[in-house]
Amino acid sequence: MTLLLKQLFGFFKLLHSETGNNQLAWGVALGFILGMTPALSLQTLLVFFCLFFFRIQIGAAFLAAFFFKFIAYLLDPVFDVVGQKVLDLPALQGLFTDLYNMPIIPFTRFNNSIVMGSGVVAIILVPFIFAGAKWAIVKYRISVVEKFRETKIFKIWTKTSLYQWYYKYDSYFGN
């Protein structure tokens, strides 16, 4: 829980900093994949591995996963249809049979229509989600954060000893 909260605080901190656009955008994109995938499967573990191994904002990923989970719930019928269409493609039957009989691959549960459907939709949409998230973060920083920094309240706040103390603490122990 502490780790999760730290990641969430890190997400807001990074969102309001001037760096880490890609980290946040990838976090949102991978969170989108997590949210779309219906259950624990090999690809979920792969996404988790990426989150922990690469410098991707985990808080952003969890928040995005939480958000997209609700959307995915509504989209389940669509994923089911897409998944069935893909799994029923005659041209791919040989490939699927091979995959089904290969080691490890069955752990992906690719033969389930919703897993397949959500996976296909997620893979197709991930670049767009990444690009959209990045554009939204930059836009947010310019239109919201910068304007907020210019306000008198924020300037007064930065002059307080509490802020000074936090800033100093963060320079030593942050990140």
């Binding site: 690469f54 049979t97 009989n101 080691p103 069955p106 389930n112 000074q164």
Partner: protein, 626 residues
């Protein structure tokens, strides 16, 4: 320092190196758990689950798993005997499973080779095993299945047949039953009515005869006749003749009265005379009714064998039912791909692609069973194998076969051979059993434990062969068993039953039993033949035949005893009626005689009288004495 001043931020690479240490720690901790604790926890889990399933303590000495080798070893597996917690029902020294890595990577569990070593039966435990308290909950489905079979056996073939027959031989039954029926004799009741009727009529007639026998009038007539006769005067004699005519009328009237009474009495006596015949008919009816009430058992050779061995056969059938249900539960027939029904929308539809290189979810290719025992140990000399236990029998295309053979010398089991086949590869699953035990010790077995008869044997050696086929909810089973060297135990209240059964059992060194059962589980047709059943049934038949004749004699004698007295009384009463009738006839004759004499006297007077009239009158009076 101004907080607003930007601290130069060190550029970090795309890889999160700071996460390596925590991940490494987690991985090491996981490996440590699986290396040092997992086996212990798995051992505890197996012990707990097996104890709950068995209802008594199950111990496992150790469990050793290896992820890298894909192996599983279970050592010192001991199952406590619920009935006798100081011993094990079965114990295994070692069970070894070797999983195939290739299959594990496919999320499948394939055991290429397994072994089950050193099987012991009824070995003593170091400490008595804990027995779980019986659960008050409703019986399990398996119990219900077994009960269904046993109820059929129980309902159709009652076990108290020997006891009933023994009590009949004891001779108590006819007497008891007849005692109960004593009050129901129609003849006895009717005879009592008849006696009462005859007695009342007798007393009525006696008083009537007494009344009619009153001679006062006759004496006065005789006096008048004498006085008229003694009259010398002719005129008075003429008047006397006229008086005599009046007297004659009186005598005639009285004679008429006696005659009418006589006719009436005669009619009544005739109706009473029919009583003995009526009594005879009623006695016949009573005998027939009593025979109907008296339940004489029909002894059938087949029923006798059933009564003796149906319980044992029923146990075999119930066990077969249990294992068939278990097999059905744990080895369900894999549905064809076309039969997969679409699942709910939220869970999607899971496709099954043809298995070409992979394995079924679980497949135990072969498990070798081996055990070497000595005469004094509880280990059996067992060898065998269990092959092709799988969740996809249609894909494996081989039936599950358990083939075990061997001996358990410590418990007296020799020449055991069992081949169990569960074939789920066909469209209709079929399970077969072929079991044979050449010799095994049979403990005490009592066929009857009733008060009248305790019959069975205290020790014997048995052999058995059992074959069964179960397909489409139908079972076909045959059982051939022998019981040799039996030490018989016969204790009957009836001397006859004691002699009979002792004689029969002395002549049977080997008991043969042949049983068959077939049909749906809910409607089994069972048949058992046994030479013991035949001998007992035939012996009993002869003795029961005698008893039946004896019982009939008893019925006759009981009727005689009850009826004879009243019947004699009735007959003597009827005899008394004859006396009355003869008295009435005498009276009738007497009055007629008097009438004749008075007529003669009148004629005589009309002719001038007679001198010897007095002497005639005296003679007449003498005859009046009744």
């Amino acid at each position: 320092m101004n907080a607003q001043e930007k601290k130069p931020v060190k550029k970090k690479g795309p890889i999160r190196f700071e996460a390596v240490i925590p991940v490494t720690v987690i991985m090491l901790a996981t490996m440590g758990y699986f290396s040092w604790f997992f086996d212990q926890h798995l051992k505890s889990a197996i012990e707990y689950v097996a104890t709950q399933a068995n209802g008594a303590e199950v111990n496992v000495a150790s469990v050793k798993t290896s992820f890298l080798k894909g192996s599983f070893d279970l050592n010192g597996f001991e199952v406590t005997d619920k009935e006798q917690p100081s011993r094990n029902l079965v114990s295994l020294d070692n069970v070894h499973f070797q999983y195939m890595w290739d299959a594990l990577l496919r999320m499948k569990f394939v055991v290429d080779d397994a072994s089950i070593n050193q099987i012991q039966v009824y070995s003593p435990r170091k400490t008595p095993g804990r027995v779980l308290p019986p659960e008050p909950a409703s019986p399990s489905k398996l119990d219900e299945y077994q009960k269904e079979v046993l109820d059929q056996v129980k309902n159709e073939y009652a076990q108290n047949m020997l006891g009933d027959l023994a009590s009949l031989l004891e001779g108590a039954d006819p007497k008891d039953q007849l005692e109960k029926l004593r009050g129901e004799l129609k003849s006895e009741a009717r005879i009592k009515e008849m006696i009462a009727d005859v007695n009342s009529k007798q007393s009525a007639w006696k008083s009537e005869v007494t009344r009619l026998s009153d001679t006062t009038k006759l004496k006065s007539i005789e006096k008048q006749v004498q006085s008229i006769k003694a009259e010398k005067n002719i005129l008075k004699q003429a008047q006397g003749a006229k008086d005599l005519a009046d007297l004659l009328k009186q005598v005639q009237k009285q004679a008429q009265e006696v005659q009418t009474a006589g006719k009436k009495l005669e009619g009544e006596v005739q109706s009473i005379a029919a009583y003995p015949k009526e009594v005879q008919n009623l006695v016949k009816d009573d005998i027939a009714n009593l025979k109907g009430h008296f339940k004489i058992p029909q002894i059938d050779v087949k029923d006798m064998a059933m009564a003796l061995f149906s319980k044992e056969f029923g146990q075999y059938i119930a066990k077969a039912r249990k294992y068939q249900a278990l097999a059905k539960q744990y080895l369900p027939e894999k549905k064809e791909r076309e039969e997969v029904l679409p699942q709910k929308r939220a869970t999607g539809k899971t496709y099954e692609f043809p298995i070409t290189k992979s394995y079924p979810l679980f497949w135990l290719k072969r498990a070798a069973i081996s055990s070497k025992g000595t005469k004094d140990s509880y280990s059996g000399n067992v060898s065998g194998e269990l092959t092709n236990v799988t969740t996809s029998p249609k894909w494996v295309k081989k039936p599950i076969v358990l083939d075990v053979r061997g001996d358990f010398p410590a418990v007296g089991v020799h020449g055991m051979k069992a081949v169990m086949t569960a074939d789920f590869t066909r469209s209709t699953p079929r399970q077969m059993l072929d079991m044979k035990v050449n010799a095994f010790d049979i403990p005490e077995k009592m066929f009857s434990k009733s008060e009248q008869l305790k019959f069975g044997f205290t020790k014997a050696t048995g052999s058995t062969a059992l074959t069964a086929t179960m397909e489409s909810g139908e079972v076909k089973m045959s059982w051939n068993g022998t019981i040799s060297k039996p030490v018989w135990f016969v204790e009957a209240k009836s001397k006859l039953a004691q002699e009979l059964l002792t004689g029969i059992t002395d002549g049977i060194p080997v008991v043969y039993i042949n049983g068959t059962v077939e049909g749906k589980w809910k409607q089994l047709k069972m048949n058992i033949n046994s030479n013991l059943g035949e001998e007992i049934a035939n012996g009993m038949k002869a003795q029961v035949g005698k008893k039946i004749a004896e019982a009939e004699g008893k019925i006759q004698s009981m009727i005689d005893e009850k009826i004879k007295g009243p019947q004699t009384q009735l007959m003597s009463s009827l005899g008394g009626n004859g006396d009355i009738l003869s008295k009435v006839k005498n009276l009738d004759k007497l009055y007629k005689d008097n009438e004749d004499k008075i007529k003669a006297e009148i004629e005589n007077l009309k002719k001038g009288g007679t001198s010897n009239l007095k002497e005639e009158g005296k003679k007449l009076l003498k005859k009046f004495k009744l």
